[in-house]
């Protein structure tokens, strides 16, 4: 539960990175993939996932296509060129953030 709060702020980065690596994905697939990758540690709630997907789509980071799967239609998300550029920036920010947090919380590590 506590760790979910930490992940929340990184939801957009997680989605973009996942789509960059896996290609096109649909909403439910993203939730399952994140759950599997984090060994159940991080569960994306649908109430957070879809608004974020729609926001990233509005920002031009993602494109959408639909396909008929069995008896129903499915919406697939893919990362755009702008989205890929955003992933690079966000990953660099994330790495810097982790480094700074380590320095702040464990100053001895840097001194060692």
């Amino acid at each position: 539960m506590g760790s979910n709060q930490l992940y929340k702020g990184s939801l957009a980065t997680i989605i973009l990175k996942l789509l960059e690596e896996k290609g096109r994905m649909y909403g439910y697939q993203i939730t399952q993939e994140v759950k599997a990758l984090s060994a159940g540690e991080f569960v994306i709630t649908e109430g957070a996932l879809y608004p974020m997907l729609h926001k990233l789509e509005a920002d031009g980071m993602l494109t959408v296509e639909t396909e008929m799967i069995g008896n129903r239609m499915r919406k697939y998300y893919s990362i755009t060129h702008d989205g890929k550029k955003e992933v690079v920036d966000r990953m660099a920010e994330m790495e810097a953030f982790i480094r700074h947090m380590q320095t702040l919380l464990n100053p001895n590590i840097e001194l060692a």
């Binding site: 649909y26 909403g27 439910y28 697939q29 399952q32 709630t45 649908e46 109430g47 879809y50 608004p51 729609h54 926001k55 789509e57 509005a58 920002d59 959408v64 296509e65 639909t66 008929m68 799967i69 069995g70 008896n71 129903r72 239609m73 499915r74 919406k75």
Partner: protein
């Protein structure tokens, strides 16, 4: 054998969305697929679970009716932002070379007309009347007939957001300009310049909202849902 949803069960999920305050087909598609995928996953471990109970269980994961409404509201917000960005890009084009020549020419024509014709009302009245008549015609006749995406009575959120945007822009802003212009029938030079610039901006916005934006939105929609183009 892996249990999957029947056509009737998928239809029931669309009805479920409708009765839980998500009446728009373009939002329902995603929610229905999510619920259906989660139900099928549930059936992998519990194949005897009946459909109604499965719907209840997975909809609770979505946060029940409140969760569905949040998804709809956030989608609405994202669409408004997307349209705003599209219009902004069009407006910027009209204030850059070469289109700025046209924008400047319209402003100058309005300005010199206001300067050279003694009674400003002679200029303002036809301008306001034309824009108001166009707005009403566009909103109540042209939009429903030529722009609104229709399919078997399904409602689309992107129609609602687009129509509301145009209604707000054309009627409210147009009405505001009308209100100002009826008070300012004898404009000073500075007022004439400001009015000319603002009115040409209003025309650019009207063009972006009524002509360019609907085309882009329709193209975007048919790119995402090609099956509706064929229907």
């Amino acid at each position: 054998m892996r249990r999957v949803l029947t056509k009737e069960e998928v239809d029931d999920l669309f009805n479920f969305c409708y009765f839980n305050k998500v009446p728009y087909y373009d939002v329902q598609i995603e929610v229905v697929d999510h619920l259906a995928s989660a139900i099928e996953k549930l059936w992998e471990t519990n194949p005897d679970l009946d459909f109604d109970n499965a719907v209840y269980l997975v909809s609770q994961q979505l946060g029940g009716q409140a969760g569905l409404v949040i998804i709809k509201q956030e989608k609405e917000k994202a669409l408004r932002k997307e349209y705003r960005l599209m219009v902004w890009r069009i407006v910027v084009e009209f204030y850059r070379f070469p289109k700025i020549i046209l924008t400047a020419a319209v402003s100058l024509i309005i300005f010199f007309s206001l300067k050279n014709i003694q009674n400003d009302a002679w200029i303002l009245s036809p301008l306001i009347f034309s824009v108001s008549a166009f707005s009403l015609y566009f909103l109540y006749f042209y939009f429903p007939k030529h722009i609104k995406i229709k399919s078997d009575g399904a409602a689309f959120l992107l129609n609602e957001v687009l129509q509301n945007r145009i209604a707000y822009k054309t009627l409210l802003v147009g009405g505001y300009i009308f209100g100002i212009s009826t008070r300012l029938v004898h404009l000073s030079s500075v007022e004439s310049i400001v009015f000319s610039i603002l009115f040409s901006l209003y025309l650019v916005l009207l063009y972006a909202d009524c002509v360019v934006l609907p085309k882009k939105v329709k193209k975007h929609f048919y790119d995402q849902f090609p099956q509706f183009k064929l229907a």
